[in-house]
Structure formats: C-alpha cells, structure tokens
C-alpha cells in the first residue's frame, strides 16, 4: 500500500511542486497592485477618482479610439497600446488626517518586493506639510524592459496611487509628465474644460 501511495505522490506531487515553483516567480513579477484597502477612504473623501481599466477594457477603448480617428486621442492611443491595465485611486479630503500611515504603508509594502525599483522618493517632514512622492518601476526579467509603473503621492489632504501595468517607455512617461514639448494631458484636459487640481 505504501509504495502505491509513494507512486501517486511522485506522479502528482512532483509536477505540482514544479508548477508551483514556476508560478511563484510569475506571481512575484505581477505589477498589478492590490488597491482594495483604499476603498474605505472613498466615504471620507471630498473628491474621488477611481479608474479601473483592465486589459479587456483597455483593448475595447483602443479599438473605439482607433475607429473614432480623433486626433487628440493619438497620443493616448500610443501610450495605452501595449498596456494591460491602468488603475488609479485618488482621494481629495476637505481636512487633514483623513487617511492613516497604515493606508500608505499597505501600498508601500507591496512595492517593497524585489521586483519593484524605487526611482524617485521625495519626502517633506515639515510639521504641517508632510508629503511623500514616490515613483516605482518594475523591471522585466532581462532588466532591459519594464513591466509596470507605480506612482504614490501622499499629501496632507490628498492621497493618489497610480498603477500602470504593461511596458511603458521613457517617451510615454515624458509625454505624460509634459516633457519634451509634447502637450501633456494636464493641459489638454484644461483645454477641454476639465478640472484641474
């Protein structure tokens, strides 16, 4: 009976362990952050921006924007083409201390894994002006491509987390941050009559 059990364990256990061994690094390399713990802040916030665009929705938006042939969409199309997800959670509060350090740490803990590299860290520890700006990049296995980007901005009355999943290059980031003379989305939004923070 025992040898039979050993045979079964060998037949199924070894492949299962191998599959687990292959799956773990893949999971560790997942650039999608879990932002669910921030949901509770929505009830306290004065203004909430919550955007969840998974791969399928992004592809749908891409097809729609391509068929619509709006010139203003060209740059956005260029950026989203290779992405598989964009997740944004931004909360604006009317008074300070509406979110806790634990809320911020819950996000930072995920970014502390070896897959993420912190590229920018700006902190201000002045008494009434505690601010934290961080930009993280997840590099691909070869180190020459990247798999995702995370931006964490914490201000006294505002908390924003942006998680971009998929390859995003320096040109796209430059366009996003309004570099290289490329009209940035901030100004475009203003032109279209949108809000500005």
């Amino acid at each position: 009976m025992k040898p039979r059990f050993e045979n079964i364990a060998r037949s199924f256990g070894v492949p299962a362990l191998m599959a687990l061994g292959l799956a773990l690094p893949a999971w560790a390399q997942n650039p999608k952050l879990d932002l669910n713990q921030l949901e509770k802040l929505a009830s306290k916030a004065d203004e909430v921006v919550d955007v969840t665009l998974d791969g399928a929705t992004l592809k749908f938006a891409e097809r729609f924007m391509e068929s619509d042939k709006d010139e203003d969409d060209a740059e956005a199309l260029n950026i989203i083409r290779k992405l598989t997800g964009i997740y944004v959670k931004s909360f604006e509060f009317d008074k300070q201390d509406q979110y806790s350090d634990a809320d911020v740490e819950a996000i930072r803990a995920q970014l502390k894994s070896s897959s993420w590299t912190r590229m920018v860290n700006v902190t201000s520890r002045r008494e009434h002006d505690k601010e934290l700006d961080e930009v993280y990049v997840m590099a691909g296995p070869n180190g020459k491509s990247n798999l995702g980007l995370a931006v964490l901005v914490a201000e006294p009355k505002e908390l924003t987390v942006v998680n971009i999943v998929g390859p995003i290059d320096a040109d796209h980031l430059a366009a996003l941050s309004g570099e290289m003379g490329v009209p940035d989305f901030e100004h475009r939004h203003e032109r279209r009559g949108g809000k500005h923070d």
């Binding site: 590229m119 920018v120 902190t123 931006v151 980031l173 996003l176 475009r188």
Partner: protein, 150 residues
C-alpha cells in the same frame, strides 16, 4: 301642363354625341384593360391566397401568422442591432473617458513629482532621485526615470 310637357320634351329629346366621342370612350376602355392586365398577377395572387384552403382555413391562418411573425422578427433584429450599436458607442465613450481621466491624473502627479524633484535638487533638500545614484538598478528603470529626473 302644356309648358311643363314642352320643357320635358325638350330636355329628353335625342341629341347626337359630339364628334369623336365613341373613339375616346373606346380608347379609355383599352387603357383600363391594359392597366388591369399589368397588375393581373397581383390580383391573381391575392385571389389565390384569399381562397387558399377555403374560407376560414387553418392553412391561411398559419400563412398569415408566419408572415406576421417574420415581420416582427425582422423588425426586432433591426431594432436589436441598433440598440447594440448605440450601447457599444456608449461603452466606447465611457472607456475613452476613463482612459483620458487615468492619463490626466497620472500626468498631473508625474508633473508634480518632477517639479518637486527639481526643487529638491535645487534646494539640496530631502528629495532623492534614487535612479541616478544607483547603477545597480535595471537599465530600463533608469531610462524610464530620466524624464522625471532630468
């Protein structure tokens, strides 16, 4: 009574038709016959359908019901397609708005981070542009950070 009789006699007296009356009547008759012949097939079809299976027959009722059902089906298909197109358009607009909103927020925050990095570098403050200092970091990450750090 005499004047009345005279008047009646005058009104009922035989009068010859104007010249060409007979030929005009015959032409009109031929014209109507030709028009009837042109649509005779429709008339025959209608008569055949109407008399198919006799008065009140199930065949005629079934044929009428099938025709009505097909009409309703065709109208429904067209309406459903229109509705689906409108729904796709609405969802596409929504997805585009979400993309633009997400990129807008990302843009604002990256712009802000870039400005703060510049200010911190200028002031020699607490900002750290870690990408520059550590060469051990992946090449792609350093490239990616350059628009913010430069």
């Amino acid at each position: 009574m005499k004047p009345f009789e005279d008047e009646l006699h005058r009104a009922l007296r035989r009068r010859d038709p104007p010249p060409g009356f007979a030929s005009r009547v015959m032409a009109r008759v031929e014209q109507q016959a030709a028009a009837k012949a042109r649509f005779a097939w429709l008339w025959r079809l209608r008569t055949r359908l109407w008399s198919w299976g006799g008065e009140g027959s199930w065949k005629r009722s079934a044929a009428l019901a099938t025709a009505a059902a097909m009409l309703v089906l065709a109208v429904s298909v067209v309406a459903w397609r229109q509705h689906r197109l409108r729904e796709e358009q609405r969802q596409g607009e929504l997805a585009r708005a979400q993309v633009m909103e997400a990129l807008h927020v990302t843009s604002i925050k990256l712009h802000r981070v870039r400005t703060r990095v510049r200010n911190a570098t200028k002031d020699g403050g607490q900002g750290s542009s870690e990408g520059r200092s550590s060469r051990a970091k992946p090449e792609a990450a350093l490239d990616l950070a350059s628009p913010i750090l430069d």
